[in-house]
């Protein structure tokens, strides 16, 4: 019903505009063309001014109304830098925006055609032009300076104590791998990929034998502990988009990429802050990757070190799942837990 009304209103509006246009055409014929051109010039000039005022009010109105829809404070150290850069840029561009838009529409209104005035012949003024070359140049130097400073901070090497997690995208899911107690992600080769070995790990590499593979479940991270993501893809380009951390990096088949950041708020904290008991950190695939692209998401749980250790204890290396007889702790269940604990502790340091 509502749709019907909208369509009806649009059609009516169109009809009215059309009729007004037609009527004004007849009036123009009656009045003489020069006269009506002058008249419409005045109307247009006024409308330009009205457009400016309404437009600026609209800018304010939209800002007020949509305030609550933005993501809220960044949940990572790099996110804070990115937000700060964003606000610096908003401040500077907003000033430029207002000055230039007001000048544009004000001039168009103020200097509308009039028989009493003649246009002022003003072909150039080098001094003036120099001024508005130099001022934008200086402003941009500031923006570039801040931008590159933060950029190097964000893309620089990860701290030594960062934990590593591998993220692999494929149509249309995310898989994760933790390096296990040795802290090293084992080598892999894509031709090894089978149902049992979804990442193509090379089992002969001892570094692989304690790696923990996770699929269909959230990635777990420790709050206030830097994490370095090693990102890859199996089929087409995907993108690890972490809106709450303000981070993003493409997952490219054949070319591993990395990014690091430090999550600063646990999931529990975010639930409280956002007043949303269902809050989860989301990994959204931000690069068009095929027909299921829209559904390609993963989750991240940020928790305290203790909670993380408890979770890690329950994980078992993929190697042992594939070769159960290599599992030294197989017969006795309590040693499984014991071994996994050491894995967790090592993996987290």
């Amino acid at each position: 019903m509502q749709t019907f009304f909208i369509v009806a209103i649009l059609a009516l509006g169109f009809l009215i505009t059309f009729q007004i246009a037609k009527a004004s055409e007849y009036v123009a014929v009656l009045r003489g063309e020069e006269q009506s051109r002058k008249q419409s010039n005045k109307v247009n000039a006024f409308l330009l001014l009205a457009f400016l005022v309404l437009g600026l009010i609209g800018v304010y109105y939209c800002n007020e109304n949509l305030k609550g829809k933005i993501l809220g404070e960044a949940a990572s150290d790099h996110g804070v830098l990115i937000d700060r850069m964003l606000y610096i840029t908003i401040a500077i561009t907003f000033i430029v925006f207002v000055i230039t838009q007001v000048a544009l529409f004000w001039f168009a209104y103020k200097y509308q055609h009039s028989d009493k005035r003649k246009a002022y012949y003003y072909p150039h003024n080098n001094k003036l032009e120099l001024i508005w070359t130099v001022i934008p140049a200086i402003t941009l130097t500031v923006l570039v300076g801040f931008g590159i400073f933060y950029w190097f901070k964000i893309t620089g090497d990860a701290p030594k104590n960062a934990m590593q997690v591998e993220v692999v995208g494929s149509q249309f899911k995310w898989e994760f791998r933790y390096p296990g107690k040795d802290g090293i992600l084992g080598k892999k080769y894509f031709k090894n990929i089978t149902g049992d070995n979804p990442l193509g790990q090379i089992w002969d590499d001892p570094a692989n034998q304690d790696d923990i593979y996770i699929v269909g479940e959230p990635m777990h991270l420790v709050v206030n502990k830097p994490v370095r993501l090693v990102i890859g893809a199996k089929d087409v380009i995907h993108d690890v988009g972490l809106a709450h951390f303000r981070m993003k990096m493409d997952a490219v088949p054949g070319t591993p990429t990395t990014m690091w950041f430090t999550p600063t708020k646990t999931t529990a904290q975010m639930k409280k802050e956002t007043n949303n008991p269902d809050f989860v950190y989301e990994i959204s695939c931000d690069q068009m990757c095929g027909q299921g692209h829209w559904s390609m998401r993963g989750e991240i749980v940020v928790e305290t070190q203790e909670e993380f250790d408890v979770w890690m204890v329950q994980q078992k290396p993929k190697y042992l799942a594939v070769f159960p007889d290599k599992d030294p702790a197989k017969p006795k269940t309590d040693t499984v837990a014991k071994q996994a604990t050491t894995v967790a502790v090592a993996g987290s340091h």
């Binding site: 850069m85 430029v96 003003y122 570039v144 893309t155 490219v252 591993p256």
Partner: protein
Amino acid sequence: MSETIHEHPGTVTHGAAHDDHHHGHHEQSFITKYIFSQDHKTIGKQFLITGIIWAIVGGLFSVLFRLQLGFPGQSFPILETFFGHWAKGGTIQPEFYYALVTMHGTVLVFFVLTAGLSGTFANLLIPLQVGARDMASPFMNMLSYWFFFMASMVMIASLFIHTGPASGGWTVYPPLSALGQASSGSKLGMDLWIVAMALFVVSSLLGGLNYIATILNMRTKGMSMTRLPLTIWSLFFTAVLGVLSFPVLFSGLLLLLFDRNLGTSFYLSDIYVAGEILPNEGGSAILFQHLFWFLGHPEVYIILLPAMGMVSEILSVNSRKPIFGYMAMLGSLFAIAILAFLVWAHHMFVTGLNPFLGSVFVLLTLLIAVPSAIKVFNWLTTLWRGNIRLFPSTLFAIGFVSLFISGGLTGIFLGNSTIDIHLHDTMFVVAHFHIVMGVASMFGMFAGVYH
């Protein structure tokens, strides 16, 4: 417009058909006059009309996918009547949505705003404004249109095949676009897309070379380069950008075609798709992005520069003043054209690009804001103390400047790699380029048509 042709009716067949007082062909059937015409004005109109048709088609695509955006998952039974299994149960299916978005982008960027804009106005205005009788090579000019027409036909054909048209985004990044297994839009539709674009590149090269040759060699007496109207200058830079960058796209697409059909590995490496391990190793998916954006960024200016040029003239004529700072305007056009080639990787900040290289591209990208700012201030000063006739063309020109300000300022966010980490691949980007190169150039086009 075609009155010049009507002045010579009848069936004169003397040998002086090409002397100084006559131009065009004397005996013209409907076909040579309107269809395979070599007259620059007719060709301009052909480009305009084809562009308008494409604009309507591309606009309808966006209406369809916005139905899904505005009312996610809702059923519109009428859609199933028209589109069958693409809109099963009246709901726009994901593959349909992606195909619509892809085709909307391709059609609007290339077929409407490149061919429709510079094809129309370069053909119509260059000979008139430099004082030449026609283009340097009217025949090449005709070919330029007909290659564009063929490109259009192939692209339209791709809409009607069973597996659907290309649907990996207008940027057609491989491996998605290289692997038929990865998406149904990457099957035959993608091959047709590449063929259509190749024909399109040929068209724009034939046109561009012609525009450059005409502007350089066929100016009338007294029309020195620094007296050329800014419109002509902007069309000149547009043509230069096109001639230098479209071949790079062409080679990129050619390699993609090889990867698709001949088993090469230019863009493919380490791929396991649809349960199958592919033999390709050693390629780089990112290579394509470099080749694509080496055209892709200048393409923005190929679209925008003609609009800038026309707006300069329309504002100056209708405020009854000369354009403020002609040389500065010219200089900034030149600077923009040069910088256009040096910023392509700002589309690739989050592809794992070397951070140092990224910082260089930040610097060069934000540098473009300087000539852009000069242009805005000069337009404002042109209006200042003028005696402004607010014709529809003036209104569109003012609208262009307003949009260019908004679009340019949002570019300062995206050109800054730090902010781009967050904004990349979001609707902010979509909004930015729609304001600055979509709507603004559309306004420039309207302004030009009304003028």
